[in-house]
C-alpha cells in the first residue's frame, strides 16, 4: 500500500461533522449554544480554526451561527 496516494479533504470532513451535529441537536432549546459548547468541549482549537477559515460554504445555517459565536474565542493554531 505504500506509495499509493490517498487524498483526504479534512476540511470537508469538518463540514460534515458540524452539519451532522446540527441535525442531531435540532430539538435543543438553545441549539447554537449547545453546539458551541459541544465543539468547545471536543474539538481542538486547530479544528475550530480550520473550519472558521473555511467559511460558510456547505455549512448548515445553524452551523454558520455557531461558528460566528465561537470565532472570537478561537485562537490561531500557532497560539494553541
Amino acid at each position: 500500500m505504500t506509495g499509493q496516494v490517498h487524498h483526504v479533504d479534512t476540511t470537508a470532513k469538518l463540514v460534515t461533522m458540524i452539519n451532522q451535529i446540527v441535525r442531531n441537536t435540532a430539538r435543543e432549546k438553545d441549539q447554537i449554544a449547545a453546539i458551541a459548547d459541544h465543539i468547545h468541549a471536543f474539538w481542538t482549537v486547530r479544528m475550530q480554526q480550520q473550519l472558521l477559515e473555511h467559511g460558510s460554504t456547505g455549512l448548515d445555517p445553524v452551523a454558520v451561527a455557531v461558528m460566528a459565536r465561537l470565532a472570537p474565542g478561537i485562537r490561531a493554531p500557532h497560539d494553541a
Binding site: T2, Q4, V8, M17, H38, T44
Partner: protein
C-alpha cells in the same frame, strides 16, 4: 499459592433468612434453611464422599456414595438431596455407611481402567480420592466381565480429550453443559450398561457437535474422562495464581495453574464475582499465543518503513524514539505528537500513556480504542444519568424479569455472561432481541425470544422512539419514578415528542423494517413485565447515531422506572477487557481520569501539582482527527500501545495514509501487527500473564491482573512506557504497578479507596470506591442519579448518510464470532482457528440466488470506500438486503470496506452500516495479494553480518 483443588461444597449455596442448627458427627452446625446435609457437612469441615455432586450443579443423587444416617430417619439417605432440619442429628462415618460406600466403589472400579500411575489425572482424580476415602482394597467382581475399557478416545477437540473408558456416567459433564453453560450439547445416550456420554448425534464427535468448548464439562469431570490435552502433555500443575482474563469485558477471574514457569491450564475461579466459576473457549483455552513463535521480544528501529527492521538494544530503541519525538516537537510543536492506548492494556498502563502524552509530550492528543467501540456510551450515559458507565453488576440479572438485548450478541461476544442470562431465561424471564441478525440467543435450547425485531441497520433510534411512543401513549410510564427521580420539564418535552404520531410504530414500521404490532408488543412487555434490564453492545454504539441511541435507551429505562435496584438498569456490554478502565483512566483527549474535562481548572490543578507540569486546557485530537491532521502534514509522531488501528479502525486506506504521512510511529505490541508495517520503532510488549495491574470490566469491577510468569521481552508494559518517559527526560520512578494505582487513587475521586492491598483483600471492587461508597457500588443511582435529576433527552431519528442505491444495494454489518476475538491477533495464534479460519460473508438465500452465489463461493465485497474478497455462506440468519461479516483476519481486511462515517457526538465509527454490492469472484483480489506482499516486505528483519 500452591496447588490445591478449588473447594467444592457439593451442592449450591441457598439464600434464606432462617438459620437451621443441626449436629453432624457431634459438631453443631448452623446453616441457612434449605441447605443440604452434604453442604452443611462440608461447610463444617467434614466433607462427605461424593462423585456426582458439585456445588455449581443442582442436586442429582445418582452416585450413592454420599449416603448418611440420620437419627429418626429410616435407611441411608443421600446427603446431597436431603435438606437440613432443626435439631437433626447426622452421622457420616459409620460401619454401615463404610460398607455401603465400599460396595458402590467396587462397582465403579470394576469397570474402570487400573492405570492410575500412568493416568494424566493421577493424584488429581476424585474417583481415586474416593476409592482411598472409602478404604477400597479389593474388587470382588474381578475385571474380566463386560466393561467399557476398549472404548476409543475422542481427540477431535483441540483442547481436551474424551476417554469414555474412564467414564463413570455421573452426568456431571451433561449437567454442567445444561445448567452452567446452557448449550445442552451433551447427553447420556443408551440405557443401563449401555449408558454413555454423547456429544450431539451418534455421528458426531466433540468437535462436530454443538459443544462450544467452554470447558465446563472438563472442569466438572471427576475422572480423566474429559481432560485437557495440556495436562497429558505437561503434567499436573504445581501452583496457581489468581488473575483476570484479557479477552472480553466480562472480566472472568481465572486460576492460572502452572508447572514451573509453564502454564498448564487456566481454570475459572469459583470465587470470581464476574464469572462465578464459568469460562468460555477463549479465556479457558486460548492463551497459547503468549508463547507463540510470532512473539516479538527484541526492540527494533528503522529510518523508513520500507527498510527492514534492525534489532537493537532497549537503550538504542528508546533513545531513538525519544530523539525523534523531541525533534518533531521542536520542529512542528507539541501538538504534532500523540498517543493511543488500547483497551486491552491495564488501568496502570493506560494511565501512564496518557500521563506521558500530557506531561511528557505536552499535549492532550491521546485516545483509546474505546473511541471505536463505546465512546457513545460514555457520552450518552454521562448526559442522561451523570456517569459514564453501566448501572448494574452482573449478578443483577438473577432478578430480571424482562431482558431487552439490543445490538449485542452475548453468546458470541460475552459468552460467560450470556450463560447467566440464559439461566435466568430458562427460569422464566422474558426476552426481547433487537438485532438485524437472528443471533443465537434469539432461539436456543429451552429459550425463545418473545420478540425478535430484525430492524434495518441504522434505525435503532427510530425503533426505540417507537417503543417509547407506545409506552407514553398507552399510559405505561412509571409516573411515580419519573416524578421523584427525573426533571419533569424535560420529561414532558420528551413525552410530547415521542407521542407525536410520526413516532408511532405504524408510521415508522416501513423505515424500521419491522411489523408495527411486534414493536407495540415488545414495548408493552418491557414496560409491564416486571424488572426490565437493557443490555446493549456495539450494534448500538457503532452508528452515526450511536450517542443518540444510548440516550434513547436511558430514556426508556427512566420512563419505565427501571433504574436503581437489582434486576433492572442500562448495561453496556463492553467489547474488550478494559474498555471501562481505559475510559476511566483519562485516555480520551478531552478529559482527565475520572471523566473530568481538561478545561476544569480544579481537576487540572490536582494533576499539575502531582506532575509538576502545566496541563493544556484545550481538548486534543481523537484518533480519526490525528489521522486527518497527519494527512494535512500537521501531525508527525504517534506512540501506539497495544492497538492495531490498521486492522481495527474504519477506512483502512485513510488509516494507512495517515500513518505513512508521519515521521515517527512507535508501536508497542506483542506481535508485529498490521500497524507495525508503518512503524519506525517497535517496542516488544508483554501479555497479561506477564505483568501486574488491574482491569475494570463492564460492571465497573476493578480486578487484579497478577504476573504469572516473567515477561519474554524482559519488561512489563508499564515499565516500557516509564523507560520511554525517562528517555524523554521525565523523572519517573515507579517500582511496581501498585504505585501507579496509588497515584490514580490520589488523583481520581471515584478510585480514592482503591489500592492493590485492598483488591487483594476484597478480590475486586466496583467503583466508585470512596468516602461515600467505601466498599464500592454494585448498583448505581439507587437513591438518585449522580447528576441529580435524571435527564430525558429528545432523540430525533436522523437517517445515516450511508444509503443503499443501485450501485450498492445491500447493507453490510459487522461483528465477532465466539472463537475469535477482535482483530484476531491473539486467537488466530491459538487452536481456536480450527473453528474459524477465515472471515465469511453471511448472505440471505434470496440475495445469494439473485447473484448466483452458493456457500463456499468467493465473492467480491465492494463499498464506496473500497473492496475486498472473501467466501460466502448462505443463511437466513440475516434478513434479505443485509449481509454480515467478521473482522478477525487481516487478509480479509473488512475495514477496507467500512467508511469514515461516524457518530455525531463522539466520532465512533459507523461500522454497522455500510452500503455494499456483492458479486461473484475468482479468489483473493489483487489488492489483497499486494497487501500480503507488502506486509511480508515490511516485516523483514535485517540479519546481523556474520563475525
Amino acid at each position: 499459592m500452591g496447588y490445591e483443588p478449588q473447594a467444592d461444597f457439593g451442592t449450591p449455596a441457598v439464600k434464606s433468612d432462617t438459620t437451621v442448627t443441626l449436629s453432624i458427627d457431634g459438631r453443631a452446625v448452623s446453616v441457612p434453611a434449605g441447605t443440604t446435609v452434604m453442604r452443611a457437612a462440608a461447610l463444617s469441615g467434614g466433607a462427605i464422599p461424593k462423585l456426582c455432586a458439585s456445588d455449581n450443579l443442582k442436586q442429582f443423587g445418582s452416585c450413592r456414595l454420599c449416603l448418611v444416617e440420620i437419627d429418626g430417619m429410616r435407611g441411608t439417605p443421600a446427603s446431597c438431596t436431603t435438606l437440613v432440619n432443626e435439631g437433626m442429628t447426622v452421622h457420616t462415618e459409620t460401619a454401615r455407611l463404610q460398607k455401603l460406600r465400599r460396595g458402590v466403589m467396587e462397582l465403579y472400579i470394576s469397570d474402570h481402567p487400573l492405570d492410575c500411575l500412568t493416568c494424566s489425572a493421577n493424584n488429581d482424580c476424585e474417583l481415586q480420592d474416593m476409592a482411598a476415602n472409602v478404604g477400597l482394597r479389593d474388587v470382588r467382581y474381578g475385571y474380566e466381565g463386560a466393561n467399557h475399557l476398549g472404548e476409543a478416545t475422542d481427540t477431535s477437540n483441540p483442547y481436551f480429550d474424551f476417554d469414555p473408558s474412564k467414564c463413570i456416567a455421573c452426568s456431571r459433564c451433561v449437567r454442567a453443559c445444561d445448567e452452567v453453560q446452557g448449550t445442552f450439547a451433551l447427553t447420556i445416550s443408551g440405557r443401563g450398561f449401555e449408558s454413555k456420554v454423547s456429544a450431539g448425534l451418534a455421528s458426531d464427535n466433540f468437535f462436530s457437535s454443538e459443544c462450544v468448548s467452554c470447558g465446563a464439562c472438563v472442569q466438572a469431570c471427576p475422572t480423566a474422562t474429559l481432560n485437557e490435552k495440556a495436562i497429558k502433555d505437561i503434567g499436573k500443575p504445581e501452583r496457581s495464581v489468581i488473575t483476570t482474563c484479557a479477552y472480553c469485558g466480562v472480566g472472568c477471574t481465572f486460576r492460572a495453574e502452572l508447572r514451573g514457569e509453564q502454564v498448564v491450564r487456566m481454570v475459572p475461579w469459583k470465587d470470581g464475582k464476574a464469572n462465578r466459576g464459568h469460562s468460555c473457549v477463549k479465556g479457558r483455552f486460548a492463551w497459547g499465543y503468549a508463547r507463540h513463535q510470532d512473539r516479538m521480544t527484541k526492540p527494533m528501529i528503522r529510518a523508513k518503513v520500507t527498510d527492514p527492521w534492525r534489532e537493537v538494544s532497549w537503550e538504542e530503541a528508546l533513545g531513538y524514539a525519544a530523539g525523534e519525538f523531541k525533534r518533531i516537537a521542536a520542529k512542528h510543536g507539541n501538538n504534532a505528537l500523540g498517543g493511543i492506548v488500547s483497551s486491552r492494556c491495564t488501568n496502570e498502563e493506560g494511565f501512564l500513556v496518557q500521563k506521558l502524552v500530557r506531561a511528557g509530550f505536552g499535549t492532550n492528543n491521546v485516545d483509546t480504542c474505546a473511541r471505536v467501540c463505546h465512546s457513545p456510551t460514555g457520552y450518552g450515559l454521562s448526559k442522561t444519568f451523570g456517569t459514564s458507565a453501566g448501572t448494574q453488576d452482573f449478578d443483577s440479572v438473577e432478578d430480571s424479569d424482562v431482558m431487552l438485548v439490543i445490538g449485542a450478541n452475548p453468546t458470541d461476544g460475552h459468552p460467560v455472561f450470556a450463560s447467566r442470562m440464559k439461566r435466568r431465561l430458562r427460569q422464566g424471564a422474558r426476552l426481547i432481541v433487537i438485532d438485524p441478525r437472528r443471533t443465537d440467543i434469539v432461539r436456543s435450547p429451552h429459550i425463545e425470544a418473545d420478540y425478535h425485531l430484525p430492524l434495518t441497520p441504522g434505525t435503532n433510534v427510530a425503533i426505540l422512539t417507537a417503543m417509547a411512543h407506545v409506552i407514553v401513549t398507552e399510559g405505561l410510564v412509571d409516573q411515580a419514578f419519573v416524578a421523584e427521580r427525573c426533571d419533569m420539564d424535560e420529561f414532558r418535552d420528551w413525552a410530547d415528542f415521542v407521542s407525536d404520531m410520526r413516532h408511532s410504530p405504524e408510521f415508522l414500521a416501513p423505515v424500521i423494517g419491522v411489523d408495527a404490532a411486534q414493536i407495540r408488543g415488545a414495548a408493552r412487555l418491557f414496560a409491564t413485565g416486571g424488572n426490565g434490564a437493557i443490555y446493549y453492545g456495539l450494534g448500538v454504539t457503532e452508528h452515526s447515531q450511536g450517542s443518540s441511541t444510548v440516550m434513547a435507551i436511558a430514556n426508556l429505562a427512566m420512563a419505565t422506572g427501571n433504574i436503581g435496584r437489582r434486576g433492572v438498569g442500562v448495561n453496556p456490554l463492553r467489547g474488550q477487557n478494559n474498555v471501562q478502565g481505559a475510559c476511566d483512566m483519562g485516555s480520551f483527549p478531552h478529559e482527565l481520569s475520572g471523566y473530568r474535562h481538561v478545561s476544569d481548572p480544579v481537576a487540572r490543578a490536582m494533576f499539575e501539582a502531582e506532575w509538576g507540569v502545566p496541563i493544556d486546557p484545550e481538548p486534543g485530537l481523537r484518533i480519526p482527527n490525528m489521522l486527518d491532521a497527519a494527512t494535512d502534514g500537521l501531525f508527525k509522531g504517534l506512540y501506539i500501545q497495544g492497538e492495531d488501528i490498521v486492522q481495527s479502525d474504519p477506512d483502512t486506506r485513510h488509516v494507512v495514509a495517515g500513518l505513512e504521512a508521519m515521521e515517527c510511529v512507535i508501536v508497542q505490541d506483542i506481535f508485529l501487527n498490521e500497524t507495525a508495517n508503518y512503524a519506525h520503532v517497535f517496542l516488544p510488549g508483554s501479555t497479561f500473564l506477564e505483568k501486574s495491574g488491574t482491569f475494570t470490566n463492564a460492571e465497573r469491577r476493578i480486578q487484579p491482573v497478577r504476573k504469572v510468569m516473567e515477561p519474554l521481552n524482559g519488561y512489563e508494559d508499564w515499565q516500557v512506557t516509564q523507560e520511554l518517559a525517562r528517555a524523554m527526560g521525565l523523572d519517573w520512578n515507579y517500582t511496581h504497578a501498585s504505585e501507579i494505582m496509588d497515584e490514580i487513587a490520589r488523583l481520581t475521586p471515584t478510585f480514592a479507596g482503591v489500592s492493590f492491598a485492598r483488591l487483594d483483600q476484597e478480590g475486586s471492587l466496583q467503583w466508585p470506591v470512596n468516602e461515600a461508597f467505601p466498599d464500592g457500588a454494585p448498583i448505581m443511582h439507587v437513591d438518585g442519579f449522580v447528576r441529580g435529576k435524571g435527564k430525558f433527552i429528545v432523540t430525533e431519528y436522523v437517517p445515516t448518510d450511508e444509503r443503499t442505491g443501485p450501485r450498492f444495494p445491500l447493507l453490510l454489518t459487522t461483528g465477532r464470532i465466539l472463537s475469535q476475538y477482535n482483530v484476531g491477533a491473539q486467537t488466530r495464534r491459538t487452536e481456536n482457528s480450527a473453528w474459524h479460519e477465515e472471515d465469511l460473508l453471511e448472505i440471505h438465500p434470496s440475495d445469494a440466488e439473485n447473484r448466483g452465489i452458493r456457500t463456499g463461493d468467493w465473492v467480491r465485497l465492494a463499498s464506496r470506500a473500497g473492496e475486498t474478497t472473501l467466501r460466502a455462506t448462505v443463511t437466513d440468519r440475516v434478513a434479505p438486503g443485509v449481509v454480515y461479516t467478521t473482522f478477525h483476519h487481516p487478509t480479509t481486511q473488512a475495514n477496507v470496506i467500512t467508511t469514515d462515517n461516524s457518530d455525531w457526538a463522539t466520532n465512533c465509527p459507523e461500522y454497522k452500516v455500510t452500503a455494499v454490492q456483492i458479486t461473484p469472484s475468482n479468489g483473493p483480489s489483487q489488492w489483497q495479494q499486494d497487501y500480503e506482499a507488502q506486509a511480508d516486505l515490511s516485516r523483514r528483519i535485517a540479519m546481523e553480518p556474520a563475525e
